[in-house]
Point group: C2
Amino acid sequence: MQIIERVLEMQRWSESERRQGRRIALVPTMGALHEGHLSLVRDGKVRGDRVVVSLFVNPAQFAPQEDFASYPRDFERDRELLNDTGTDVLFHPAVEEIYPEGFETRIEFGELSKPLCGAVRPGHFSGVATVVATLFNIVRPHVAIFGCKDYQQLQIIRRLVRDLNFDIEVIGHPTVREGDGLAMSSRNAYLNPEERKAALCLYRSLRHAEEMVRRGEWCGAAIVDAVRGEIAREPLARVEYATLCDPESLREVERVEETALLALAVRIGKARLIDNIILKP
Amino acid sequence: MQIIERVLEMQRWSESERRQGRRIALVPTMGALHEGHLSLVRDGKVRGDRVVVSLFVNPAQFAPQEDFASYPRDFERDRELLNDTGTDVLFHPAVEEIYPEGFETRIEFGELSKPLCGAVRPGHFSGVATVVATLFNIVRPHVAIFGCKDYQQLQIIRRLVRDLNFDIEVIGHPTVREGDGLAMSSRNAYLNPEERKAALCLYRSLRHAEEMVRRGEWCGAAIVDAVRGEIAREPLARVEYATLCDPESLREVERVEETALLALAVRIGKARLIDNIILKP
């Protein structure tokens, strides 16, 4: 596995691979890798001839009071995991390499960035989209793979690619879960054993909603109430949002008609956890 | 000359040219072509193996009260001129091709977009940068050529390319002028004969400033006052701004030290004309 730290070197590598007709898959990460990330890398190996994993904890997508400084970092471990998973290039730029002096471009969105996490994390998706656009131009992948756990992020990246005509296929990879159902996340590391148990309420409530829909429930309010009730039974958990919305536009919906996205953000201790499920009647 | 109207077809053409190792030059225009544009095309022919000219009157860069509807359009004439100048591809998309339903991405800037035209045309440079970014992804040029008359636009495109790491060389082509010095502009068509004469005050005042600097003047206030005075002698002209600033950051400067940009916007009749000059002591 090659490690590349400079933008120009990465661009040259990609240009050369493309000239040789090879298909490049990109998996953007912030490190602190878990099985969810590795599963994206394996998917990349199937979809591309070469897999590039970027590892960059992007300051622009953290608000000042958020966890940029304390975000888990373990480069040696990440490097080994990626090497063992068959990554071809680990792109690992310094902050100054991505944001040199005088940097002032940012990509903004309209409606898609307003609900869900966008409502509580102002500037977050602008930070995500800006860094992803620059990663796209640096790595020049044919296909880029993102996890479905960050569903709103995935929709925003899809919008970015469609609107700005990046010639890139965006893949949403299904959320990878622990044996007991907890969605894998680097932020699960913030949980102590007791909180780790409490965190199961996210998955439990999503499955409960799925079961309600299977039994014929279509009313958004009833489903969301039940989800909130389920999470309320867990004293360590505090719901930030629980919303039923259209999976494309992310606009809130009142009923499960064709498909609906049920999206959750829950605070447990120091961790802010998100999860979601697509409901189909 | 090939005319391409669809994004996918344009992308395929470019991908195929790139695979054959050909260098693509892009000249983005809004049509209503004049010798200034054609001079960019000729420059493109020197710098690239293939020249693509885009012709797209971009609604997103006009404010509601501006001249989008009345902006001069003459496709047949433009097509002939481009054909005669040796253009390889004329990319001429419909508005819905560039802004399909649901489009909501926009690129914004910080300090660079605030002074000069940015102060009087809110949203203008965001509209320019967003369409240029999408044109870059559609045409995938190696080099893109812009006129120096639109100096702030050129600086913003340079910033966009640097910040988002587009692998594109940006060329600023010197302003092309009429025999009497008036900077060529599609908006000169708005001038009646009397206004056309009055419009000479822009160039005259810039040359006057240049002469002052040659004689040893370095004080920004003295230079700007003289420029305003020169334009004030022309009753049909109204200065929108006359500013001395740093050619890189566009921040206002108080004196001509190494180099300074003197930038002008002047209203004459229905036309809003801009021009600029780089001053060196």
